[in-house]
């Protein structure tokens, strides 16, 4: 009983914190940082989706951003002047999720027999194929508007008046994103401890043994791809409505790699870890961008290294260092950590 109360109090506290966070940030740093916060939430959703494929099922996916792109373009096509359609958000998001899920299964189907690096290159290729199609499908029939991208997409929310006070649309979008991110967190938490979640772990650890135990590895893998993809699709739809502009250049390979870094850096397979990874990799570069140039000016009186390249350089070094000292990520999952330490001990014993 006591524990339960504590749990409720904890959840309530997190709820209150999440609810007032945008106001704190908005008041002290300005709305641009709320935008930043919204982007962080989007990346949390993306990273959680990829985590299902990479973290739970152990399938290395280098083309994950393709599903984000699919979701984004579905929203863009169904809610913009491009085709003159203006469907509501709640109709489009499920469509985006389903279509992205189908694409996920489509990618999964030919790759069922592939392992490790073969899978990596096929997923990478798949991601590129989707991006190139989006870039090319403006002729002979104009579907995606090609490299020009689709503009004037319906916004997710408009600023509203409550009791005479204006609430900026960014706040509403924030709450929408928080709600959906929480939904995705809950779903992944439930999945992790479900029959399906255990089947994924079994496949990740030893596919043959999993098969021997009666797991239908084909269906289970396809489900991992489809579910992960559908989360990406939802995030993509939100991105589209948030940015009100999509073009293929937003969905390049580097974005896939970024999301993968979030998952691995934070702690593959561990939901809090993945969330941490997503937040760290969205917010830190932003903070850095703000301080790197001025700090150099203050210290040396001139800018020696272009802040952008300094940022990338430190990002690269951070990747190396984190993996060197915390190979399981910043917040590893307890199960994986135990396995790793066990393996390391064995290796140590052998040497």
């Amino acid at each position: 009983m006591q524990a339960k109360h504590k749990q409720i109090a904890g959840i309530a506290l997190i709820g209150v914190a999440l609810a007032i966070l945008p106001f704190l940030i908005g008041m002290s740093f300005g709305n641009a940082w709320i935008r930043m916060l919204d982007f962080a939430l989007l990346y949390i959703m993306l990273a959680l989706g990829l985590n299902i494929v990479v973290g739970f099922a152990g399938l290395l996916d280098l083309g994950y951003i393709a599903f984000y792109a699919v979701g984004a373009y579905i929203y863009a096509l169904l809610a913009s002047p491009h085709f003159g359609l203006h469907w509501p958000l709640w109709a489009i998001l499920p469509i985006g999720a389903v279509v992205a899920g189908i694409f996920g299964a489509l990618l999964g189907a030919p790759t069922l027999r592939l392992r490790g690096d073969y899978l990596a290159i096929v997923t990478l290729g798949f991601g590129e194929i989707i991006r190139i199609f989006l870039n090319n499908l403006n002729a002979p029939v104009n579907i995606t508007n090609g490299p020009k991208g689709i503009a004037g997409i319906d916004p997710l929310a408009k600023s509203i008046d409550i009791f005479g006070y204006q609430l900026h649309s960014l706040y509403l979008i924030y709450y929408l994103f928080v709600a959906l991110a929480l939904l995705i967190v809950v779903v992944t938490l439930r999945l992790e401890n479900s029959r399906l979640g255990r089947a994924w772990v079994a496949i990740r650890e030893d596919e043959i043994a999993a098969k021997a135990c009666g797991i239908n590895t084909r269906n289970v893998k396809l489900l991992a791809f489809a579910l992960g993809a559908s989360f990406g699709g939802v995030a993509g739809g939100l991105f589209s409505g948030f940015q009100q502009f999509v073009s293929p250049e937003s969905f390049g390979l580097f974005e896939s790699i970024m999301v993968l870094c979030m998952v691995v850096l934070g702690g593959m397979g561990n939901i809090p870890g993945v969330i941490l990874g997503a937040v760290v990799l969205t917010v830190l570069p932003e903070l850095f961008r703000h301080w790197a140039g001025p700090a150099q000016m203050a210290l040396f009186g001139q800018t020696y290294i272009d802040p952008e390249s300094l940022r990338l350089m430190l990002f690269g070094i951070a990747l190396i260092l984190v993996m060197r000292f915390r190979p399981m990520g910043l917040l590893p999952s307890s199960r994986r950590k135990a396995e790793f330490e066990h393996a390391a001990e064995e290796a140590g014993a052998k040497a």
Binding site: R113, V122, F126, N136, D206
Partner: protein, 327 residues
């Protein structure tokens, strides 16, 4: 500005004999050149993968460093009266030495500490190394594209109207010779035997007196020397070098290595050349084959489709061995 005198040149243009055969041969040469470049880079990937089972994502950046270091040497020696071919060789030697040192350091810093880590950890450090190398090169050489002097004779030879230059011939020869050299090294030499043993089972190899760390370091060094060679030849062929030239090239070469069966030396070359020819033929003929619906902008899609199809039927690539499923 008078318009008259500008009209002249076009009436002077001689109709060049160009029939489908000539075009086909030219596309074949284009594809072979591109393919040999991919093959050279793919060899580096495959060497490392063969022994460690690791994608050395930073390999493309080593190629880039090779090209830029060689270029720096050319520039330094430009004023001397040394024959161009000698300048090229000196550039290659310096680039190779730099890349070998670089390859050795990358292995020590980014990969060796992670040998027992989960599979994805070294992939992430590799991406980290790749980013750091790119930014370092950017700071050293700047963001602009550099023009690479033509040190090799720029002569073209005619094959039924199609053209092939000396640089292209050298690239093809280099790829073939590197492959042959590596096969001899791995299959016939003592070092090669140690490599194969380490790849098979490092613990057992260690018991047999093989110093696995040394062998792995040597593999990286050999792979990096090949990268330097590739860098020099690529920049000679296209006449430009740039701090971002390595990434995409590395990616394509990696694709080629997987297509051929990663870990297999012959496979890397076969995959590279196939990929090059598919790209050239794809760009050249897709439009005609599809009645103009698809054009050269579908070239990459075409490549990846071929790759996926091959892997569906041969999950370990064209020449890859059937891997026993390892936990």
């Amino acid at each position: 500005m008078g318009k008259r005198h500008l009209r002249v040149p076009f009436f002077c243009v001689q109709p060049v004999t160009s029939d489908p055969v000539e075009t086909f041969i030219q596309q074949l040469i284009n594809g072979l050149t591109l393919g040999s470049i991919y093959a050279l880079v793919a060899l580096g990937y495959t060497m490392v993968y063969g022994i460690l089972g690791l994608i050395n994502f930073a390999h493309g950046e080593v190629v880039m460093i090779g090209a830029l270091v060689a270029l720096a040497v050319y520039k330094a020696l430009a004023a001397t009266l040394l024959p161009p071919a000698l300048i090229l060789l000196i550039g290659l030697a310096v680039a190779a030495a730099t890349c070998m040192a670089l390859g050795w350091s990358i292995e020590r810093i980014a990969y060796r500490p992670l040998r027992n880590a989960p599979r994805l950890a070294p992939l992430i450090t590799a991406i980290g190394v790749s980013i750091v190398l790119q930014q370092c090169a950017m700071l050293l050489w700047g963001r602009s594209y550099h023009s690479v002097p033509a040190l090799l004779p720029a002569e073209s030879h005619d094959i039924l109207g199609a053209r092939i230059s000396d640089v292209q011939i050298i690239i093809m020869l280099a790829a073939a010779l590197s492959m042959a050299g590596l096969i001899v090294l791995v299959q016939r030499s003592k070092l090669g035997r140690a490599m194969r043993a380490t790849a098979e089972k490092p613990e057992v190899a260690a018991l047999m007196g093989v110093d696995a760390n040394k062998i792995i370091a040597l593999t990286f060094i050999i792979g990096s020397a090949l990268a330097a060679l590739a860098g020099v030849l690529v920049s000679a062929n296209y006449g430009i070098a740039h701090y971002q030239m390595g990434f995409l090239l590395g990616l394509k070469a990696f694709t080629a290595a997987v297509l051929g069966g990663i870990g297999n030396i012959g496979g890397a070359v076969l995959g590279g050349i196939l990929l090059g020819i598919i790209e050239a033929m794809g760009a050249g003929y897709i439009g005609d084959l599809t009645g103009g619906v698809l054009g050269s902008h579908y070239q990459d899609i075409f490549c990846f489709m071929v790759l996926i199809t091959v892997l569906v039927f041969r999950p370990s690539g064209l020449m890859g061995e059937k891997v026993s499923e390892r936990a």
